[in-house]
């Protein structure tokens, strides 16, 4: 597992049914591009988060494919319409096969 990886999400605790809410997500990750060289001139292997998904009650909200040019600690902010109370599930997929997950419940206001 890459070191220092920690997912963070910010979701309102409650929302009115059918309203759009703003979700912010950030995962700390070094996002090594695979293009850089170390002090000895050897290529540092690529190590990035290559995919990010958000689901609400099992339904896909957003899916993002990430490429090596994305900077360290990728941050995503997006809106989602919430039809009912439920749970958001966020998943990040690492090049090394690791999967990081976070969930956030949301209630109806």
């Amino acid at each position: 597992m890459a070191s220092g990886v920690k997912p963070r999400v910010k979701v309102p605790k409650s929302a009115a049914a059918g309203s759009a809410i703003t979700i912010k997500t950030l995962i700390s990750h070094k996002m090594e591009s695979g293009r850089r060289k170390d002090a000895d001139g050897n290529l540092i292997p690529r190590s990035i988060i290559n995919r990010f998904t958000a689901e609400f009650n099992g339904q896909s909200v957003i899916e993002v494919m990430m490429e090596p040019s994305i900077s360290t600690n990728p941050f995503f902010e997006f809106d989602a319409t919430v039809p009912e109370a439920g749970e958001f599930k966020f998943t990040w997929y690492d090049d090394d096969g690791d999967v990081y997950e976070a969930t956030k419940p949301i209630a109806m206001a």
Partner: protein
């Protein structure tokens, strides 16, 4: 001792005018909104402009946080801790705070407990004179002093990531409180030394701190919008290098830009300068970890 170089000011002014003509736009010189207010997370109000401390009489009437001089996007990012990348490092330091290190089997928490209680208000008065040891210490020096004398651990590298993160964690506990660094008492001689350095021209460009940050703040030096060089926002997350930056590392960068051989981070010279520059921000809020360009 105060050396105001009027000829330099006019040279800079001419350069700015020339740049404006070349670009054919005045957009880069939009009026700075000095009245803009900073509230973090909708709850912590930050003082970003304040009457200058008494010791600045004749030099500055009012002091401004560097936040004032940044672009809208950068300013906005600092209003929500989730958007502030500096907070990632605070998280990392919180883990380090609770982790045992060194031969004594202690963590920071072993002695200091909950950081939000033990470190509240600490940053606001640093650097300051410490009777136990009879010297002026910065927060960074306190951290390493703890690590080496109490924990039996290796000191952090002064400008390294672990140090800036720990400094940020401690600084955060004082966020919103007024900077209140003592300029008299036993620290006064070092403060005087720092003041001397602030007004001393260095390097091939023969520029002092004051030439940019006192005589010409709010003007542009090529693409840079000059601030007053206040350090109330340190450690700062800089967009240019995507990490937290320490005060001494910033000093080093500035002195290097005057094309001088710089003092070393951790040197007595930079400690004196840190003490003096911190005192120039007395009255502003502790703002770190802040975001700058």
């Amino acid at each position: 001792m105060i050396m105001k170089n009027k000829s330099l000011k006019s040279t800079l002014g001419a350069a700015v005018t020339l740049a404006a003509m070349t670009l054919g736009t005045s957009a880069a010189f939009a009026e700075t909104n000095l009245d803009k207010t900073l509230v973090i997370n909708g709850e912590t109000a930050i003082v970003t402009r304040a009457p200058a401390a008494a010791h600045l009489e004749g030099a500055l009437d009012e002091v401004f946080s560097g936040w004032i001089f940044r672009k809208d996007e950068t300013q906005t990012a600092q209003m929500d801790d989730f958007d502030n990348p500096g907070m990632i490092f605070v998280d990392i330091a919180q883990d380090a705070w609770d982790t045992v290190a060194g031969t004594e089997g202690k963590s920071c928490a072993s002695c200091h407990g909950d950081v939000s209680e033990s470190m509240a208000g600490v940053k606001a008065t640093y650097p300051k004179w410490r009777e136990d040891g009879g010297l002026v210490r910065s927060i960074d020096m306190e951290i390493n002093n703890c690590r080496t004398t109490r924990m039996g651990a290796e000191p952090y590298k002064l400008t390294g990531g672990k140090m800036t993160a720990m400094n940020a964690l401690i600084t955060l506990q004082s966020r919103g409180m007024p900077v209140n660094v003592a300029v008299d008492g036993p620290a006064q001689s070092m403060w005087e030394q720092g003041k001397e350095l602030y007004y001393t021209k260095t390097g091939q460009l023969e520029m002092s701190c004051a030439n940019c940050h006192e005589d010409n703040y709010d003007l542009h030096i090529r693409a840079d919008h000059l601030s007053q060089g206040q350090i109330n926002g340190f450690p700062v997350y800089r967009l240019k290098n995507a990490k937290l930056n320490s005060v001494h590392a910033r000093f080093k960068g500035c002195v290097r830009d005057t094309r001088a051989e710089t003092y070393k981070p951790g040197s007595q010279e930079f400690l004196a300068l840190e003490l003096y520059v911190a005192s120039r921000g007395n009255g502003l809020s502790v703002e770190g970890p802040s975001i700058r360009n």
